[in-house]
């Protein structure tokens, strides 16, 4: 079985899709090379990223299919723990170039359904993390937030926080992926977390507000309505580690 591999970047993925058409091959799968365990029954062809080719595919998705489709593809690409996401994207696009702008109306077609389902999961996590991200003030006047999301959502979180907290320096650190979004009151960028160096200590003022917040949190629950299972469903335990009020 033929499988294309790419370097893990969005441009890499689009280049691979370009090559499918250019070479007239029909790979059964497309996969990121990162952490890939090769299976010796399959044939792997590595596609090296080419910005020009990627642009062409990008534009073609936007023009021949739709802006929404482009957004779907990007969001699904960010679901980096989804084993077959690249193949799903590829099949969705193949169908998309046939169906045109109506592709997202085929809500019961598996190729469309899968992409929509993953997109929804990513959207939900982004929405959640816009609320669950917790900043602490560090020495040196930087607000620092460690996160461990299921999807690679920094590129979607950063623009939100640059609007919400525009007059403070902040860093959002994706611990699992070892990358960080860094903002300096003017612009943000995503960088390798190693560049952050040693994380400074928390500012002396920090503890006060943490205490106040925890106090508030413990006071607003209504004992008569206690409902732990609902609580856990809405605020899954895997997020608790970084929630100040749960410390």
């Amino acid at each position: 079985m033929l499988c294309y591999t790419y370097d893990g970047s969005f441009d890499g993925l689009l280049t691979a899709i370009y090559e499918v058409y250019y070479r007239g091959e029909d790979p059964k799968k497309i996969k990121s090379i990162e952490g890939l365990e090769q299976n010796f029954l399959d044939t792997y062809v590595h596609i090296s990223t080419d910005y020009e080719k990627s642009r062409k595919v990008y534009n073609s998705i936007e023009k021949k299919i739709s802006r929404d489709a482009l957004e779907n593809v990007y969001c699904v690409y960010l679901a980096d723990r989804e084993e077959d996401k690249d193949t799903y994207i590829y099949e969705y696009l193949k169908f998309g170039w046939k169906a045109g702008s109506k592709v997202d109306s085929y809500l019961s077609d598996d190729r469309v359904l899968r992409v929509h389902a993953i997109k929804r999961r990513v959207d939900r996590e982004v929405h959640r993390m816009m609320g669950f991200t917790r900043f602490s003030l560090l020495e040196g006047n930087v607000y620092y937030a460690p996160i461990e999301p299921d999807n690679n959502i920094l590129p979607l979180l950063a623009p939100h926080f640059s609007k919400r907290l525009p007059d403070q320096n902040w860093v959002i650190h994706d611990l699992g992926r070892r990358i960080a979004a860094v903002y300096n009151t003017r612009e943000w960028m995503i960088a390798d977390a190693a560049l952050l160096g040693e994380i400074p200590r928390t500012d002396a003022r920090e503890e006060t507000y943490r205490q106040l917040w925890k106090q508030f949190y413990s006071n607003v629950s209504i004992r008569e309505r206690f409902n732990p299972s609902l609580h856990r469903r809405l605020l899954p335990e895997r997020y608790w580690r970084h929630l100040t009020e749960k410390w």
Partner: protein, 535 residues
């Protein structure tokens, strides 16, 4: 806490040593006010300012009772001069009092916001000194936040009943949303339980705010006016279960408020006993299931095109406890069904149980490119377990369904309950309904201790349990046989057993599954009544 720590980089310090205690007292006092949603207002960031509203709002955390925390919801003061019987803050209640200074509250708000703890501020208060004084305190907080700190986050502020319109108006220029709580659904109950309030004091400011909102909307169009007045609209809250009002009274009130005052939301708050005033009911637990059903009905009013009269009537003044209001309505209107999913219009789709706003829209989209069958509907998110009785796909019914009121009702009730069990929402309340109401309910919900006689009848429909149901053996005609036995095997083992003769009784037994061992009994007499009544 050391005083110096309270100063943020900008605030001229206001934190007293006892800020922590104050926050704890004043958050405690505000928590019963449920209308804490921050939506409907998207403020753009002003240059150099802090924060932005976002139309859909975020939950920043959840309370252990499963409510969304998005705003710093506190009282300015709990030191009330009024004496409302249902309220902890009433002047006659002997308990600790506290009042924030505006600076203190602003400091907490700004610092919480910078840490992304909150979406904004929800400012409420007891009547401190007098209504105008309290309102003026609010205005100082709002002004400081919006002007000094250029805070663009969400602000919800209460209009204190009895305050001057001029002050209400001023606050409205800074707030995203305002609310005046109705609390009690009639003037008589206000007189009895909140002697210093009356209908005029509440509806007065409400009407004033609603007029101002629409004037402001026109001004913005006409004069390109920049300053908004309460852009996210106003809301109110009604307490449920503190007075003898029926659901129909409450729902009709809401309907009128939506129409007349263009309210954005009416919130319902199950009464939690806080005092033993003789005019208040002595209840053990807040009526949460009732509150839940009211929210569902309210949703139907706002988004599904239903009217209160369709849902309730004088002869049926309360919402069904076992069944959500939409299923209940559909069952009473079976003559309107089935509808053909591939053809009927949006409004009709919305009225089908199991089809919500999102799935109805998806159906419209999807059927433009291909006609849909049941399998497609499932993929679009339609809850077929509910919808199956009310729709056809390409002219066909869902396979194997039986169009019989009682049968459908039984299945929908079970579906309602399974859903509650699965989501954890209202699970406990459902258990309550099934445990403590009469045997009829019990057998129904718990063990299906009796069978359903449809046509030949399925003897004992096995003890339907909330776990997984497996094989279902059902073969006896109840009305003829003396006993019927139903059994489900699967993930849990359930057994139902019925005896129908003389003073016999019905036994349902669940073993295993989520609920451990449950047993239910109803008398044969009751059972016969329920069966014959249903069929």
């Amino acid at each position: 806490m050391p005083e110096a720590l309270c100063f943020s980089n900008k605030v001229e310090g206001w934190c007293d040593l006892d800020t922590l205690d104050k926050l704890s007292i004043l958050a405690e006092g505000a928590k019963y006010d449920v209308s804490c949603v921050s939506s409907g207002s998207s403020r753009k960031n002003t240059p150099g300012g802090l924060g932005s509203g976002y139309a859909a709002g975020f939950c920043h955390s959840f309370t252990t009772d499963g409510r969304c925390i998005s705003l710093l919801k506190v009282l300015m003061s709990n030191d009330c001069v009024y004496d409302c019987a249902y309220c902890v803050n009433r002047v006659s209640n002997d308990f600790p009092r506290a009042t924030f200074t505006p600076g203190e509250l602003v400091d907490i708000t700004i610092n919480f916001y910078r840490r992304n703890y909150i979406e904004g501020l929800f400012l409420s208060s007891a009547v401190y000194k007098n209504p105008n004084y309290t309102m003026e305190l609010f205005i100082r907080v709002l002004k400081m936040l919006r002007e000094e700190y250029r805070f663009n986050g969400y602000i919800h502020v209460k209009a204190i009943p009895g305050a001057d319109n001029a002050l209400v108006e001023q606050a409205g220029l800074y707030a995203d949303r305002m609310s005046v709580n109705i609390e009690l659904p009639s003037n008589d109950s206000l007189k009895l339980l909140a002697p210093q309030k009356n209908k005029e004091k509440i509806l007065g400011p409400m009407g004033f705010i609603s007029t101002k909102i629409s004037e402001n909307k026109e001004d913005i169009v006409k004069y390109k006016k920049k300053q908004y007045f309460v852009p996210a609209g106003q809301s109110t809250q009604v307490i449920v279960g503190a007075t003898p009002h029926r659901d129909i009274n409450i729902l009709k009130l809401s309907e009128a408020l939506y129409k007349r005052y263009k309210l954005k939301r009416v919130f319902y708050s199950a009464y939690i006993p806080v005092s033993n005033h003789p005019a208040l009911p002595a209840i053990e637990k807040p009526p949460l299931l009732r509150e839940h059903r009211l929210y569902q009905a309210d949703w139907l009013l706002r988004f599904y095109g239903f009217s209160a009269d369709e849902l309730l009537s004088d002869s049926r003044p309360d919402l069904d406890e076992q069944l959500d209001p939409k299923c209940d309505w559909a069952l009473r209107n079976l003559h309107l069904f089935p509808v053909e999913v591939n053809r009927c219009d949006y409004e009709t789709l919305l009225r089908v149980p199991g089809i919500g706003v999102i799935s109805a829209k998806r159906i419209l989209t999807a059927r433009r490119v291909s006609s849909l069958d049941f399998d497609d509907l499932r993929k679009l998110g339609v809850v077929l377990k509910r919808a199956q009785y009310f729709i056809t796909c390409k002219g066909k019914y869902y396979k194997g369904i039986i169009m019989d009121d009682a049968f459908i009702r039984q299945n929908l009730v079970r579906e309602n309950m399974m859903q509650a069990m699965k989501s954890g929402n209202m699970a406990e309340e459902y258990r309550q309904v099934s445990f403590f109401s009469n045997g009829y309910d019990y057998g129904y919900d718990y063990g299906y201790g009796y069978g359903y006689g449809h046509g030949r009848g399925h003897g004992l429909a096995g003890a339907g349990d909330f776990g997984f149901r497996g094989l279902n053996i059902q073969d006896r005609d109840f009305r003829k046989s003396l006993a019927g036995i139903g059994m489900n095997t699967g993930m849990s083992m359930n057994m139902g057993m019925g005896l129908v003769q003389g003073p016999g009784m019905d036994i349902a037994l669940n073993i295993g599954g989520m609920n451990g061992v449950n047993m239910g009994m109803i008398t044969a007499e009751e059972k016969m009544k329920s069966i014959t009544g249903e069929l």
